[in-house]
């Protein structure tokens, strides 16, 4: 079992550009959540996807969008990048069983906006 895999591991983008991050969930999981972890802070919930739909969203602007594919993998897209978007982006997968399950995290994608 490969666990949760994210790509790429590191990325450098220029302010104003767009970026796409990818996540493959742990085998058997159907729910993918994305978190942003700024330097020195705890992860902040961006949104969650289940059955190819966004079903919950944190306090992030519309520049942050996502997608889930039929195989449960997911993408996070960020448009019009700002310097403040520099962070570690974490993907977590879980089962949609009402919360009594744990979330498994990937290694993250380190995004640097210059």
């Amino acid at each position: 079992d490969a666990g949760v895999t994210q790509s790429p591991t590191h990325l450098i983008k220029t302010r104003g550009q767009q970026v796409t991050l990818r996540c493959s969930p742990k085998s058997g999981h159907d729910t993918v959540s994305w978190y942003q972890q700024a330097l020195g802070q705890g992860p902040q919930f961006i949104f969650q996807y289940y059955e190819e739909e966004e079903r919950q969203r944190g306090n992030f602007p519309d520049r942050f969008s996502g997608h889930q594919f039929p195989n449960y993998s997911s993408e996070l897209n960020v448009n019009a990048l700002l310097l403040g978007d520099s962070a570690l982006y974490l993907c977590a997968s879980s089962l949609a069983s009402g919360g009594r399950t744990e979330a498994f995290f990937g290694q993250g994608t380190r995004l640097t906006v210059v």
């Binding site: 959540s33 992860p43 919930f45 995290f105």
Partner: protein
Amino acid sequence: AQSVTQPDIHITVSEGASLELRCNYSYGATPYLFWYVQSPGQGLQLLLKYFSGDTLVQGIKGFEAEFKRSQSSFNLRKPSVHWSDAAEYFCAVGPLPGGYNKLIFGAGTRLAVHP
């Protein structure tokens, strides 16, 4: 609003000493509680979780945590710290009303271990 507070930003202990990391939460219902560990540049690894039942839960790597509803706390403990335990530790609470496995994290406690 739901929140998690980890009062200690940075803790330093000697190898072999005992450890306690504090976590307090604010939550309107019965919480599910988690402790995760993060090594530099890495993702999060689950140490232990509390859903219900026995308030003292055992986790991996010799860690344990105790849920105290009256104090809204879920402190992490280890009787004897190893140098490899140096990392950042995050307490989290979830799910939020409506379920969906969303987690709210504290700001983390960075643990340094002196030889």
